[in-house]
Amino acid sequence: MGIAYSQRAIVTGQIRTATLGIFLSDVDIVMAQAGWQKIREIPNGAVYQCFTPDKKLSAKLQVAEGASSFGGTRVAFTPLSANEINRGFDYFIIYGNPDFPVYQVIVGVCQFFLSIPTLATSPYHFDQSSCFAFGIPFVNNLNNGVTDIWWANGDGGGPFFVSEHFRISPRCFMRFNYCLNGVMFSSVNNADPSQGMLTLFYLAPTWNLDTNIGQTAFTTKFKTGQPINLDALVGWQHVVQGQLWDAFQRTQAEPLDAIQSYKDTDSDGNPMDLKFQVWMSSFYDSLLLLQTTVSPGGGNVAY
């Protein structure tokens, strides 16, 4: 296996939060740069559609003004199936707070990640609404019966409603959706880890990591101090459904939002100098998202 390079534009940028109009305008710009299609405009928002590089899979994302809360005014990001029959949660993001004038985004051909720079958890009082992620995974040839697949996760969207998502943890709690071939699941609040929630799969000791026995930060590092670099396998219900595009994992905590340089080779054996941003950093696992657009022609090394 190897990283699933989309070989499409990777857009890194900022979403200004001063007003709803500025927020939506900046979203519109990055979506266009990343190749998403604006399907239609709606009152105070729009619906965007993305496709996998081979155009076989598609999903949509609605970005529109959402209900305000004690935390402030909000935009709602709502994942949709391509046919719009399945509609995920409204994942709220607060705008208009001068303490946090911008969000950062990394947008690929069919992935969207948004958060406050340097922060993994919500800084807002009375509202957990600062992070959102959405995407169609790379699906390998073992899963060729797939016609519709996407995932989404984000903050809890309310006071004290702390969830776990791909900005904090490889495993999601409380606020996520996934959809496979027209069947969508929306998380419930009282799930436990054995119920197969949306997750990234990473190598770790086989005991219950959710307790604190015998954990050391070195357990999943080589003696040289280096971690294992893993594919960003994503799945749910105890099944590896696919792989995040343009991403990989490292089995150690990395500095959040650090830009790190790596070398990889394409399927033709040609070297590539790449930059990744540490999007998620946890005790056993970090998620790194590609910031460098890989040119077409080098081949896809995944599977």
Partner: protein, 482 residues
Amino acid sequence: MSLIDPLEILYSNARATKSFAGDTDSFINGVKKCLVSVGWTLTESIPSTGFIVYPFGAPTAAGPETFPKHIVGCPATPFLGVGGVQFSLFNPYSETPAVGGSCFMVPAGDTPISTLSNLASAVTLNTPFNASVTAQSPSYFIMTFTAKIGGPDFDGVFIDGNGRWATLAATQGGGFVLTSKFDPEITQYKVTLTAIPSTYGNISVKFTVGGGDGLITLTDQGTYTIVANGYGFFLRNSLGEGNYPFTNYSLFVMAPKMPAAENFDPNTTSLFILGPRTFKNFTFYSSSGGPEITALDTVPGYHSNVSEWPKLLAYRNPGTPLTAANGKPIVHAAYISFGKLNSGVSHIIGKLPDCAVFSGTLTPYGETEIEGQIYVVVSSQDGGNSNTASSLLMLAPLPAPDPVPPAPDPIYPATQPQNRNGTCNIFGAGVTALSGNFTGLATQSPITIDGIPYFILSVEDATHLTLTTATVVKEGVVWTVP
């Protein structure tokens, strides 16, 4: 080089599996044969040894010589028995041994040490053992027996010191030292297989690495099956895991491969050993139920700190076993993480050769087929208690037939042809068969001719052999081997 670490299983180029009876001889010989067949080196053959104590000295004889001498035969209770070969004393000044006795007659000396020295010489001449005597005090002596040939075949030979003059004992400690195959990225270590009586079993398996030893005792019962490669092996028994603490049946040992190209440190000294009852139902190993041992740049040690426990890595997935989208389990290399003794931390040390981690629950000690390859299940745990369901597998080739013709060892007593007999002529040490066939009789094996026990020095052909001791000229006498 790919940015993503390869999770491919590392295969060695030689693997073997073999089953054998659980008695010490069969075990030690069986393990040795299997390991040698996959590239281990037989470093040393350790002879069996034993000793008896003469706390009150030994009978002596004093002159002058008197005539006529009494003809004396073998008493009902010999002075010394070595594996059924009997020795009795006579007074050379007044007695002469009868011809054709069933024991070896040894002349008593003028002093206890000279009597026992004569006895040791007779033992050395007429048995598969070299014997020697040391004086601990003027009346306290120890006679030591050391097999002339290394290996376990002369373990358990009963030494009967008569009970009046000396103690009883049985030989032990015979076995082999084997050295694992050389690989620049795998720690080379030694395994010493010997038979040493113990409350917990009579098979001693000692691991030597990093200048120190780790010891596992196994119980000599049931039938063992070994799966081995050049760097380790898995032993399981038909009787299961055994019960704490007296029956001990299972053992897994492997030196991890540490490829520098995959970020491992090949200069590490490392070995990973799971003793009986520690691993069957786990893929992390907590020493519960028995000993687990690791060596990491130091001598082998037992871990009490949980962070140092040996642990395999698998894709974290509590509960139901993980599969790929096509419903098949995930199988990848067996990454092992453990800590240096008393360090409190673990690192990923290497990948276990010919081993894999399987993302599901299987029957421990059973077998499973993956893409046409048979793997034996070393250990397996379910996803209960939010653990990750996972299994450790080792590639297991089909059992190979024994080589033809069978390997020449072990020698007496294990391969002695049974119930041979015939008639022969004796001239000194030379024996010519008039009937019967000497083919296949082993060096140092016993033969009785005209009622007198001898040992075979060599077999020249089907009708000629040479004894270890010269005797008289006899014609047409009966020979038998037990």
